[in-house]
Symmetry: C2
Subunit: 275 residues, 2 copies
Amino acid sequence: MTTTAIQEYLINGSKAALLSPLDRGFAYGDGVFRTLIVQNGKAQHWQLHYAKLLHDCHVLGIVCPGSSVLLGDIERLFADNAQKAVAKIIVTRGEGDRGYSMPSLAQPTRVLIKSVFPNYPVEAFEHGVRLYLCQTRLGYQPKLAGIKHLNRLENVLARAEWNDPAIADGLMLDMEGNAVECVMSNIFARYGQTLVTPDLTRCGVAGVTRQRVIELASALGYRTEIRQLPLSELMDADEVTISNSLFGVWQVRALGEKSWQAQPLASQLRKLLQG
Amino acid sequence: MTTTAIQEYLINGSKAALLSPLDRGFAYGDGVFRTLIVQNGKAQHWQLHYAKLLHDCHVLGIVCPGSSVLLGDIERLFADNAQKAVAKIIVTRGEGDRGYSMPSLAQPTRVLIKSVFPNYPVEAFEHGVRLYLCQTRLGYQPKLAGIKHLNRLENVLARAEWNDPAIADGLMLDMEGNAVECVMSNIFARYGQTLVTPDLTRCGVAGVTRQRVIELASALGYRTEIRQLPLSELMDADEVTISNSLFGVWQVRALGEKSWQAQPLASQLRKLLQG
């Protein structure tokens, strides 16, 4: 599922620039990020991604760069990309003195990184994927829950637990054993006409595609519940799917020893997401 | 308590170098750090700091640079410093492709930052300090507890809760209301001849000076207990002190509405720490 990406970047709009180690993104992970698809110079679902970036910056008290500034960066770095490519936008609080105190006159740092689109196997879309159950659990931190901030060591430790390229992602539980999300995606469990996705007010990242799936599910006749989802209940689902902004939605066909039959929801949702 | 620090740095030993945004320290906070005093080109208590750096790197699976490499950096950057100055050493996993998977051939990044020694008020040493009780609480994450890693948003949010320069530090509780540590120091509570310091196996940073205080306390005739310390119990202490590698030990004279009389432990410990 991995690919050696050739990566290019802009820092505050400049190709020549590099980062100072005094940047608080480096010192403390004091910043947020987004990952999205750019094709033909166009950032997909930009309004949703920018709204999420604004929201996450606001929670941390970081001044978010304007939408037109970020779109200008994207236009510049992705000008010659007719193919799908991946844009990662990082916004940090900027440089500061030593110590945790927020700098009073911080100039936020914005970074745009271009990577090749992952070489996802066709069978992931056609026949679904296998998940690993991570031992690393998500700690509760209501003040940071939902936010896609730069403190991602839990994801790093969880991702290091498996090497098997046949595994697409790893399910992460909270400290009480509720399913929360996967290392790089959100998760949904279907029971009849009800779609359940974990509540993310104590831990986890509330992705833009998760939000879109919640909205689109009603168009398919599903009722959505956002609540705690114990692992045992997830295992009893009629169908499990995962979502992120790059692959859209995949059906989960196996999690550890448990397996699920092929079901149509993932492909139905993918069609709506592309629409 | 703050000072505008003139900061210089070396990245992988070079003054000219800057950081790539592909460095995982920046992308995910995937690294660790140390803060220590350097005087006359000599890093104070280097063996303890290096042992802690090695330990913290090991927990994250990062290859720690050799002691002589780091000492060479310190010699170079602090050559002309007769005064006390602050060294901050950051070690990250190095650069990687997009995504959480650890790079198979990562070259760790090492950064050394020199800052002026903080202009601590004399009265902090002579008459003790005031603490603020932070609302931001520390989440449990046993896999990262104790480690001085770069995921420090909890400290950033907690430090942003007060502006009053008369407040030296902020006490942080865990989710159950136990005292754990301060934003930039460890904490001790004395009851008669017993010194209690919070257990840090679920959250918090186990500082080098905390370790030294635990060892030195027995020389002063105290018995040390490392265990959970509910806030209500901390409030009933005969004496409260905080420690870090820059100021050593201060007595806490006030925490919110609670105040304590002057006591000799902090200055006794400071003398031993300097010895």
